[in-house]
Symmetry: C2
Subunit: 277 residues, 2 copies
C-alpha cells in the first residue's frame, strides 16, 4: 500500500449529469494544492450503480491509503445512504445551501432529480439555443455575412485569435447569434473595415492576442510557415489593433483567458443580454 | 411597494466568470417553487463594481419588498464584506465545503480568484480542446468522412435528431473528436450503413427521437413541408431504429433530454473517456 499525499482520487457523483458537481468540484480543488485524479459517475440512479461506485471507492482507499473525495448530489435517500457510508470524504454540493435557503425563505424545498440548466420543457429555449448554434455555424470564419442584421455580435480578429471557439461557446451557453470574421491579408494591408460592417458598427467586437502566443498557436498548426512566423504575427496584430483603436471598436486580449472567460468578458463589455438563462 | 411572493430577483456574483455560481444557483432554484429573475455579475473585482451591485440589490429590495437572493464567490475580503452587508440573502457557494475539506484533509486552502475549469496554462489542454472543436466542425453533418479514423465517436441519426449540438458540446466540454452523419433518403431506402463505417463500427452511436417531437422540430424549420410531415418522420425513424437494432449500434432517444444530458449519457454508454477534465 503506497501512500501518496501529492495526489488524491476525486469522484463526481450524481443522479443527473454531474455537471454541477464537476463545476463546483473543480473550483474547490483549485483552493487546495494537491493534484487530483478525477472521475465522473453520472446518472447513479440504482443500487447496482452506487454499489459499483462504492467498490471503486474502497479500492481507491486500499490502493492509495487515502480516502478519496466525493462531490455528490443524489436525491434518492437509499442510494445516498449507501454512498455516504463508504470510505470517502463525501461532500453534498447542495445540502447546506438548500437548508440556508429553506430557513431564509421559509419555504419547503422539493428535492428533484437534477436537470442541467438548459432542460426546460419550454421549447422556446430549445429552439433559441439550436437557432443560435446554427446561425453561428453558418457565419463562422467569414463564410458569409448574409443575415448579419440578425447577429447579436460580430467578432473580428486575425486567424487563430480565438474567434471560432468563442463564437460557439456564446451560442451554446448564452443563445447568442455570433458572426465571426477573420482579418486576412487584404484587409490588413488596406487597414479597412468591410463596407458591410458600417451599419453594424455597434455590433463589432475585436479579439487580439500576444504575438508570442499567436506564434505558438500557429506553429502548432503550420510549423515553420511564414504564417506562424513571429514577424508575420506582429505585423498582423499591430495593424489590427491600430484598426480597432482608429475605428473605436472595443477589443480584448485573449492570450491568458479561457473560452469561458473570453465569452463572459465580451458579454459584459458589450453589454449583451443572454438569450438563455 | 408591491409584494410578489411568486417571483424573486436572483443575482449571481463572482470575481471570476460566475459560471460556478450560475450552475449551482440554477440547481438550487430548481429545488424551490418560486420563479426567478436572474442576473449575472461577473468579474466583480473592484469596490466600484460591488457598490453598483449593492445599489441594484437595494433597489430590488425596495421595489419588490423581498430580499433578493445572491449566490456568490468572492475572494477579496473588502469586496466580499460590502456585498454581505447588503439587504440580500447572500449565499457563498464555496465557503462551507472549503471548511469541510480543510478539516477532513487537514490542509490550509489558498483562496484563488476563480478560474473556469478549462483555464490551465498547460497549453496541451488548450490545443486538445481547439483541435477537438475544429475536427468536429470539419466533420459536421457528413461534410466529409476523411480522417474518420481519428474520431472518438461517430453519431448517426436522421435530420434534426440533435447530432450537431451534441457533437459540438462533446468537443467543447469533453475534448472529443466527433463525426456526425445524417441518414438521408438513399441510406434510409437502402437501409444500409456506408462501407466507410464498417471498420469503425465500434465508434458508431445512434440518436433517435419521438416522431411527434421530430415533426415539431422540423415544422419549426420548414413549416408544412413533407420533410416535417408526421408520416415522413415516422418512416425515417422506424427504418433508422430498425437499422440500429439490426447492426447492434447503441442508440438513445433525445426527445426529453438536454444537449448536456445527451452528451453525458453517450459518454457513459459508449464508455468514452473525456480528453479534458
Amino acid at each position: 500500500m503506497q501512500i501518496n499525499t501529492e495526489s488524491r482520487d476525486v469522484f463526481y457523483v450524481s443522479d443527473g449529469t454531474a455537471i454541477t458537481c464537476e463545476t463546483l468540484g473543480h473550483v474547490l480543488l483549485g483552493q487546495f494544492s494537491f493534484s487530483a485524479n478525477e472521475k465522473t459517475f453520472p446518472f447513479v440512479e440504482s443500487l447496482d450503480k452506487v454499489e459499483d461506485l462504492v467498490r471503486e471507492i474502497e479500492n481507491s482507499f486500499t490502493r492509495t491509503g487515502e480516502k478519496p473525495l466525493v462531490f455528490f448530489s443524489i436525491v434518492l435517500p437509499d442510494i445516498r445512504q449507501v454512498l455516504v457510508k463508504s470510505s470517502a470524504h463525501c461532500y453534498d454540493v447542495l445540502e447546506d445551501l438548500v437548508k440556508k435557503m429553506q430557513n431564509d425563505l421559509q419555504m419547503e424545498p422539493q428535492p428533484k432529480l437534477q436537470r442541467s440548466r438548459s432542460v426546460k420543457r419550454d421549447s422556446d429555449t430549445y429552439f433559441d439555443r439550436i437557432a443560435a448554434i446554427e446561425y453561428t455555424l453558418a457565419h463562422d470564419d467569414g463564410i458569409t455575412l448574409k443575415g448579419i442584421e440578425k447577429a447579436d455580435i460580430v467578432l473580428l480578429g486575425v486567424s487563430r485569435s480565438g474567434k471560432t471557439p468563442t463564437s460557439l461557446y456564446m451560442a451554446m451557453q448564452f443563445g447568442l447569434r455570433v458572426v465571426n470574421y477573420p482579418f486576412i491579408d487584404d484587409d490588413i494591408k488596406a487597414m479597412r473595415l468591410l463596407p458591410e460592417f458600417e451599419i453594424h458598427r455597434h455590433k463589432l467586437f475585436g479579439l487580439t492576442i500576444d504575438a508570442q502566443r499567436l506564434t505558438e498557436i500557429r506553429e502548432n498548426r503550420l510549423s515553420g510557415s511564414d504564417y506562424a512566423s513571429d514577424e508575420q504575427c506582429r505585423l498582423e496584430l499591430a495593424s489590427v489593433e491600430a484598426l480597432f483603436r482608429r475605428e473605436a471598436i472595443p477589443y480584448i486580449n485573449t492570450s491568458s483567458l479561457s473560452v469561458e472567460e473570453i465569452s463572459t468578458r465580451i458579454l459584459e463589455k458589450a453589454g449583451l443580454k443572454r438569450r438563455l438563462v
